[in-house]
Subunit: 334 residues, 2 copies
């Protein structure tokens, strides 16, 4: 079977099964639109650890342990773990997995990391390199704020285009083809530089990459948005998701109500997060708390999950460099 | 064919071909043991770019362009590019690949990134997901020093156990099984925490992970060091590589002269780099400037390349956290 469609879409030969998934999040996230859907909610997002970084590590460990428990097996049975986060040198994922004793593959795709990790886990399983693989990613408001912007205690003001880093982690376990739901396709994105330099407007920086990947996937698979029950982008936020709608509309394609964005819909308007949620945890927890449960329950026949990432660091922003975007897409079906 | 051996070793079904490779480095590196072997040497490691980061980006672009030229094809023909570096949020690799227009997979394994990238490229190709894939990594003394330690201009003193970040980049292009040399096995490592907290003693932090991965690989493949013509670790340096020899010796296994370390042997004693070279570029340029050329020329029948990484960032070190290590191993043969 040809596993490649068109210029870049991968079609899994024996689509890997989504064996289980789990999400953990902070209490602010649990006051948002996903209220009541997380597997574990932390009232205190320090998790009583001595640093925010240790707290975020434990979130990844908790998400993975919960997913393993649901699948009914030891997490040490994994043949590979693909993991990533936003913190410098991906220490959250490395430290989080240090005690696991399973082959570890560190991945970086900014906020697109969940789609990249899970897509690579699919390549690993469908390629015949193992029976079980895991993907886990996270973000934490307090680790991200002080690293990318300013210490939380400063209470710095944020412009309306800014997004709010989600405190949460999602984990998914994949297994060789057995039972639905399945991961059927992956479309790894190219880097798209739209010329944005404003680190407080990530949505605009990422929207063109989401457009590029989605359009490429539709072209490769000879499908249209109408062929999917649900199309979700990662964390474009209110501004970026409107740009994506506009880009498709300019080509005469209406995304309509089947399309929505994890970031734009994560928090309620009263939570005053400006342009919405962001961070690796935003798309990852939405996937594990809402999308996969609804797919498994039969609400959707299929689902496109297009996680987006803004490629920058504080040094590159200070140097006046553009912020390129990337978008990795996964297609799931029952 | 079973692609899995023992607990963790992957045996490629139709081993991917190493189509071409290239290395670029600074003039100090060219005064070391690899003198005259690099494809391109920069007299001025700023590459006349306006930042060290832009210089390092261009090094990756140059290495990839040179490898593509040797293979006789456009680098835009790649079905996937796996890339990583040491700089926060992997901006070197992202920015370096921004103009390429090929599916991009960001990878982070600290100084083990070349083995992780190339191993994943092998999984991608042998899994049937594409015809051609690339792996590129780099490090630059000046981007790394100011990020991990202190601005270069300070001229800070370094203890004898410290290593020197190599300024260089290596790129390898893999293709579906065609002609030797081949990538025959990959063994992705687990994270090993040996309790080291001294960021100036990375060799000691990484040696136990190299031991763990090599020992696991020998066990999975039922081979011994004597079955390989050359066994090379990434950048354990003089201290770490001696620890690795000692760990094997304690089990009655002598690594002997077939074993050496890229970091320990990179610079000459007169270059006064203390415990040797390090950085993603250390193992990557040694692979592309020496190991693969010598394998292709028939000097070795086979070769083990075990790149090592120290998992930390300046925040984690300041917080007193341990520095876990990871080692990813690749086996090449003619």
């Amino acid at each position: 079977m040809n596993k490649r469609l068109g210029s870049r879409t991968l079609r899994f030969g024996a689509p890997p099964s989504l064996l289980s998934w789990a999400s953990v999040a902070g209490e602010m996230e649990d006051r948002g639109r996903l209220r009541g859907r997380f597997d574990l909610v932390y009232e205190d997002v320090s998790l009583k650890e001595k640093s925010w970084e240790k707290a975020e590590c434990r979130m990844q460990q908790d998400a993975l342990a919960l997913a393993a428990k649901k699948a009914g097996f030891e997490k040490t049975r994994l043949d590979a773990l693909f993991a990533g986060d936003l913190i410098n040198q991906c220490i959250i994922s490395s430290f989080g997995a240090a005690a696991l004793g399973v082959p570890f593959l560190g991945v970086f795709g900014a906020c697109s990391t969940m789609a990249e990790s899970l897509g690579l886990a699919g390549v690993f399983i469908d390629g015949g390199f193992g029976q079980y693989a895991g993907a886990v990613t996270s973000s934490h408001f307090c680790t991200a704020e002080r690293q990318f912007r300013m210490p939380v205690e400063y209470g710095g003001q944020r412009p309306p285009s800014a997004q709010w880093t989600v405190t949460g982690s999602g984990a998914v376990l994949l297994g060789a083809h057995q039972k639905p739901p399945y991961l059927t396709h992956a479309c790894f994105g190219t880097i798209v530089d739209a010329g944005i330099t404003d680190a407080n407007n990530m949505g605009a920086a990422m929207a063109p990459s989401a457009f590029e990947t989605l359009r490429g996937f539709f072209s490769d698979t000879k499908t249209t948005p109408a062929d999917y029950d649900c199309i979700v982008t990662g964390d474009l936020g209110t501004i970026g998701s409107q740009i994506l709608r506009d880009l498709f509309q300019e080509e005469g394609v209406t995304l309509g109500e089947r399309y929505w964005d994890c970031g734009a819909s994560y928090f309620t308007p009263e939570q005053d997060t400006h342009s919405g949620g962001s961070g690796c945890g935003c798309a990852a927890t939405t996937l594990c708390a809402q999308l996969l449960p609804e797919l498994a329950d039969g609400r959707y026949r299929n689902l496109l999950f297009a996680a987006t990432g803004a490629l920058m660091n504080p040094t590159s922003v200070q140097q006046g460099e553009n912020i390129p975007g990337i978008c990795h897409l996964l297609c799931f079906s029952r």
